[in-house]
Subunit: 342 residues, 2 copies
């Protein structure tokens, strides 16, 4: 059942600005044999996330860059197809950052077993995985929302943003999203239940529109995008507002740093508390958060939307689209079929 | 002994960019009579501080603007010359924000009595007043320096900066200042005892110079200036660095917001925690902090430098110079003589 060869995608060159498909290379390689203590995983879902653009740069960051010719990094959900590890058996559904490839070895240390009876297994890459944890800790611990406050989230229909907005509602806040396009905004309001959602592509004066949508000002801003959209939020921040900095996707393809209005003076007078974070900073607290998120997902209190494309070869194109905001929901690539239900 | 008339300086018009002396108007007015419960104060020292530029704008801020024709706001130290208040008697030395005028009435509620035997009375406008408290809480509470860390402070010889650098040393940190000119830098190193001080006017690549002066990176940045100087610090911030935003003097005269490189993405990866503050946010904690600062000043552990100009009429010119960085130490205007020692 295990094929002799499989495919993987490596970084072919470092794009200076927007990546092109030619910056990636698809390779056919032998399926590796698990050594002592190792597990062989057939990847079913590959997660595509904005942070991967940072790994394509040859720059010091919080994580090492992907080397030229190395497999692109990425979270995956898969099925154990061979195991020399006592903790995992053939058929187990598992999650780990195994990269853009159809088969991969794992030593087991950071391999997480998924219970497929609790939720669709793809959610381990999304609402019940890294993006869900990002939303949970970025909003609740960094943003510190209090009941009655107003929370604004950018990229509100994205993998992280769609969870942030709903968590803000659960926390008793007015929740206002920002997204690109009428379809995404309708989803954020009608399906996710946020109080409002502004279409930054169709809104001439986003700052004025935010002022109208947030009559009591903005107490917490969860920022996924940076750039001009965030500038429009900042001028609406209340005294003692908190800004949870999760990402700046609008800037990831910039060849040179984009210029924007200087903000520090505004942050002084408003006593803004702005904090950047990486989800793994909260790794020690994942377990209870994951249990809580699981309950909310199973009870339908937290909804989610996935955008799934088919086949490893589709990954580069889909990733380029992600950086343009073309995805609608948590972007994943299905590399192969889910196991038949037992 | 109390004259019939005195002088005051009012805001004549709102400067669109750098203030000119013609934006202020000096007026001769009757010395007011204290009503029931009121105190008449002869102002001896008028404090000139960067925040006053904000009060000249007709814009919503954390404090109301000075109206056209109204007396400019400002901290003062003076002598009670008439009192209908049981808490104050003639001869008391007091501190309050009484504005740019030679005589002023006070209701007493926020009038602070100064003990002239403990320190020169002008320090109640400086190291033992608002600027000292700004340094104390902005560094210790907002910046949260830990022993062994590296603290960088901009405007390091200024009213606030000179205290921040010394507090950083007391906190067990490597302290590096940034100031304009060789004279200021020598003072910061030789008199205040900071580990290093960089002259931003004479340094071509400030970011590289900071990297050399901070071999372990920057853990806490106390920012008084904003602009390009701060940009050079930001790229040297360590993971989990804190930025205490006190002011952005480089931007105060800007007619339109200055543009600068977007920083949010950098703040995410480094998990920077940046927080703006206003000293009065900590008013409930002034008393013990003031006692501690008083001890350090009296023991010589904290040194200070004042830059005193003579006569109310000198205030506009001195204030314009302050915004250009022409002062050397805490800028004050002496409006009249100190009382003879008893």
């Amino acid at each position: 059942m295990i094929p002799k060869t499989c495919r993987r995608i490596v970084l072919a060159r470092r794009p200076p600005a927007e990546p092109a498909e030619s910056d990636f290379r698809i390779e056919e390689v032998p399926v590796p044999q698990p050594g002592p203590g190792q597990v062989l995983v057939r990847v079913i879902y590959l997660s595509l996330d904005p942070y991967m653009r940072g790994r394509m740069r040859d720059a010091a960051s919080y994580a090492a860059p992907v080397g030229i010719g190395e497999v692109m990094t990425g979270g995956t959900v898969g099925e154990v197809v061979a195991s020399n590890h006592t903790g995992f058996k053939v058929g187990d559904i598992v999650e780990e950052r195994l990269g853009w490839q159809e088969y991969a070895l794992s030593g087991g240390a950071t391999l997480r077993k998924i219970d497929p009876s609790l939720a669709p297994i793809s959610t381990a890459n999304g609402v019940l995985g890294m993006p869900g944890m990002t939303a949970y800790f970025g909003l609740l611990e960094v943003g510190q929302p209090r009941p009655g406050e107003t929370v604004v989230v950018s990229a509100a229909s994205g993998a992280v943003g769609q969870v942030v907005g709903q968590l803000a509602r659960i926390a008793g806040c007015r929740a206002v999203g920002i997204a690109g396009g009428a379809k995404k905004c309708a989803f954020v309001k009608d399906t996710l239940g946020l109080d409002d959602c502004l279409d930054y592509k169709a809104t001439k004066d986003l700052s004025a529109a935010l002022k109208a949508a947030c009559p009591n000002g903005v107490d917490v801003y969860f920022d996924n995008v940076g750039g001009a959209v965030s500038d429009a939020v900042f001028v609406n921040l209340n005294f003692f507002a908190r800004v949870s900095l999760c990402g700046s996707i609008s800037q990831y393809n910039a060849a040179t740093p984009e210029m924007g209005p200087r903000l520090l003076g505004l942050f002084v007078g408003r006593r803004v508390n702005m904090r950047g974070f990486i989800v793994s900073d909260f790794a020690a607290k994942y377990a209870p958060a994951m249990r809580q998120m699981g309950e909310w997902v199973r009870s339908g209190r937290i909804k989610y939307k996935e955008d799934i494309v088919e086949g490893l070869e589709a990954a580069p194109r889909a990733f380029i689209g992600l950086l343009r905001g073309e995805n609608f929901g948590k972007l994943q690539v299905r590399l192969g079929p889910e196991p038949a239900a037992q």
